[in-house]
Amino acid sequence: MNNPKPKTIEIVKRGLARRYRAERRFRRMGLGAILLSLAFLGFLFVSIVGNGYTALLQTELQLEIYFAPQIFADTEVGNADYSRLVKEALYALFPQVTGRSERRSLAGLASSGAAFELRRMVLADRSLIGQRQRLWLPADDDVDMLVKGHLERAGGRLSETQLAWIDQLQAQGQVAKHFNRTFFTAGDSREPELAGIWGAVCGSFYTLLVTLALSFPLGVATAVYLEEFAPRNPWTDLIEVNINNLAAVPSIVFGLLGLAVFLGVFGMPRSAPVVGGLVLALMTLPTIIIASRAALQSVPPSIRDAALGVGASKMQMIMHHVLPLALPGILTGTIIGMARALGETAPLLMIGMVAFIVDIPNSFTDPAAVLPVQIYLWADSPERAFVERTSAATLVLLAFLIVMNGLAVVLRRRFERRW
């Protein structure tokens, strides 16, 4: 009889090629999925950066301003007609322009912010009155868009004469693009060349501070109680199910809650970061509780037993041993929760934080907007120059989110203990 039954090794060898093929296919599919995600991410970044990088520069006109004393003669320094100073400087550059509508057209090349810039300078230094100075002042947003190449020349936003004037100024070297400091230091504005994200950044800062201050202690304390002290009965199971559900509730529901309870019943000020912070804290709480519980569960029971064994009380065991060891996981969950709260707009809509607010907020009760809200409002504006500013603000928000998530990863790497 010759080999009635094949040996096991023969069977294995026959299937081996197929198994290797399946493994290779699986690895390639995984790699393909990652590459596809990276491609989408790359596309997103390239389009946002492509649209937004020009917002870092602002076109300015070099004008010779004469702070004529007669403008300041019969009026308070703050109320003087500064736009007249800007207009006179422009008229002086093109003395052949005489008609009323032509002059208005010429004056329209400079931004209305130029007058406010001069006002700021004079209020800070009264000795400027009577002097002549060569200053770089912001240009109108249409001129800015033309110089950056976003506006069609033959389109109609700028007249032929205006285009000729701009060409002449460019030839004389009096038109240049400088770093757009206004974008990072000013609050919102209807004029794109005067609009900035600083108001929204301050609003986000105050709101997140309130969110952190409320959700972190409450979340960690809840997780500690549920993990260490709560008995195992149907009530605690119900609580656990509810917490898990709350983590999945759409965020606008928390906004409705905020509107009804915080604004309606408690009468808190509308559009204030404190209310926004409260709403976002409610939203972040389930995330922190779940992450903290997982971190606490990952601490081995041997640590707890050892602590109790050397004579520590239950509170000492939790505070001195379990909590410090679970802290990296808790922090990671908190940072991720904060990063999510930073990007939220919908719950803030209901409590009035989606609003045009020019002044920079100084306290927790001043009306404020947050960065994602600012992006949303600018995306809806018709002015062409807001397109690039929307993308630039998105880049700033993404930068904050990347830094926060990166911090979470770094913390986890550095402090994680593998048992």
């Binding site: 209807r190 808190m268 607010i357 020019v358 002044d359 009760t365 397109v387």
Partner: protein, 355 residues
Amino acid sequence: MLKKTLQWTLAATLIWAGAAAPAGADAARDYVSIVGSSTVYPFSTVVAEQFGKSSAFKTPKIESTGTGGGFKLFCSGVGVAHPDVTNASRRVKISEYDNCAANGVSEIVEVKIGYDGIVIANSKKAPLAKLTRKEIFLALAKQVPDPAGAQKVVANPYKTWKEINPILPAEKIEVLGPPPTSGTRDAFVELVMEHGAESYDWIKALKKSDEKQFKAIAQTVREDGAYIEAGENDNLIVQKLEANPKAMGIFGFSFLDQNADKIQGAEVEGVAPAFEAIADGQYPVSRPLYFYVKKAHVGTIPGIREFLKEFASEKAWGPDGYLADKGLIPMPDAERKQMGADVEQLKTLAKDQLK
């Protein structure tokens, strides 16, 4: 040690929370609070910013809640927790007026600020369209009069513009427009669709005899894909028109004005949507814009009277004013003067002035 630290942290947090988050009405609101229409929002915000910069008062805070939402907030009561002004892209309804009165908001000042044109535009790469309101109605209504001539309605059979009028191009009907939540849509339906429907006498007669049927014919927009709801973001519609020269879009005049290098507005009944044509009433698709002020808040909230003065000044709402630069069509001189005088005296709105 840890216990003491925790106790101190808890005490500090409570004190801080108590100081920073006063429960109870914010009795010291020192800025004007404005809510309302998203169409009036671009104009209201410009005036607010000018006012904030050139006066000692704080810049008013303006939310874009929509006309209906704005009236709901405005009419919920008198007090610092409620808004002072609401913007509206249509006149206040009698039901809203009654709701206001029921909640104690009895003295309301109505201010008309100017007109807004609604345009139907396409990309500059495509030929300029010349349409009548009847043709637009036939292109976009869900039910149209039977093409065979009988006095009944059928489901809209038209797929190309040529089918409606032989002189129009043989292009597929593709119009991007606002969703039903938008005030622009309400205005478009009222000014264009209803007018186009009423060009048929028998439908006009229906308005008196069977209003429900009239509304079904004149106010319902087709849902078979020829009319595409492009969301509230008009910038998006402009971008889509650039990408697709065969489509048309419906939005406010200010968006046409700001993007005049990329899109062109269709002529409606021979009139192109230009500033002067809308101002003197020749362009038929335009509607007045308003805002309403609570007289009870004037004097309590600092700055309301001065804000009204800024809004009603010639340099704001006049023909050479900065609002006109943003696309607002100013009122004729006589009307503007009268409105300015009414605002100065804070003339309140009487119920019988509303339809």
